[in-house]
Symmetry: C2
């Protein structure tokens, strides 16, 4: 379907259009030989596809977050957070007409100057293959196309190098990330 | 007018209602004796009032940001950022029917879990009087009333202690604020 576009065939002109849920990109195309039910040899593609679609199955998302050991959050609040995020990015493994959610990230923003990326997750089965990097590049490309000049995030100690590899700087000019929790 | 409410007369029940532009609070009431045009002695109040009103005079806001030496930003983008902020808080000096913008802060949010505070500014004439603290407490109260569980910000080195005094922690559990700029 025309709904799917390969990343590399996307022109720069397209990449500056408004983020819409129907923009999807394939980064990888792997041909597999497979026998179908009637004994014919079929070419079945396995692709990794990125999307900004917001109409996610929240249970599938919860399963993804479970897979990396995150504590569960009320689905009502997750739904609200997704609705009010500036950008919602998901990564899918697509085989024929089946797709599996394997990565997720979202960003809050004032739509003008600042965006903050939250909830970056890649399923453990798909880690250490460059897919987290591909997901983050997709997110940054989308934010950049919206003329956001300042992209921020809060990184756990074990992922600092991952984000440094993408060009993120920690504490530039001594600016510190600070947290306040209700008490 | 009923439009103005004193902070201390506001019940806890009120403080959990939805943020609306018409909620305003006075923290300070100073009575001044003054002679009016017809020679009568009048009591003229000077009050500090907080508001979540979004319909700000952008030139007045620019003047406030100029006063602390911030570099100018396109008003079109400032307008957009204000429209898409979750919370816009302003602080006013009110004398009779005149008011002057003396402080500002805003927050982006997913309306569920996270909020990030940006652009905190207090006019130099009103600094070192506890008004920055009062403004931040107003912001935190508003965010808390919306059940936001994680309030974040990025602090310049010289204001770290100011935010620590309000209960903010830098780099809790080694979590680092990171920035990415387009290149």
């Amino acid at each position: 379907m025309g709904f799917w576009k390969t990343w590399f065939s996307t022109s720069e002109a397209n990449s500056t259009t408004r983020t819409t849920p129907s923009e999807e990109y394939a980064v990888e195309t792997v041909g597999n030989s497979d026998l179908n039910g009637v004994g014919e040899v079929h070419q079945q593609e396995t692709r990794i596809v990125f999307s900004t679609e917001r109409d996610l199955d929240l249970y599938e998302l919860e399963e993804l977050c479970d897979s990396v050991g995150w504590s569960r959050r009320p689905l009502r609040k997750v739904k609200k957070a997704i609705e009010h995020s500036f950008l919602v990015a998901s990564m899918w493994q697509v085989r024929g007409n089946k797709r599996r959610l394997i990565g997720f990230a979202r960003a809050t923003s004032d739509h003008a100057f600042n965006a903050t990326i939250w909830d970056v997750v890649v399923h453990p089965d798909f880690q250490a293959k460059g897919l987290g990097k591909a997901l983050m590049k997709y997110v940054l490309k989308k934010l950049r196309s919206e003329e956001i000049s300042n992209v921020t995030l809060f990184a756990d100690p074990h992922v600092l190098d991952f984000y440094r590899g993408l060009g993120f700087m920690s504490d530039p000019e001594g600016i510190k990330g600070m947290f306040w929790y209700p008490h």
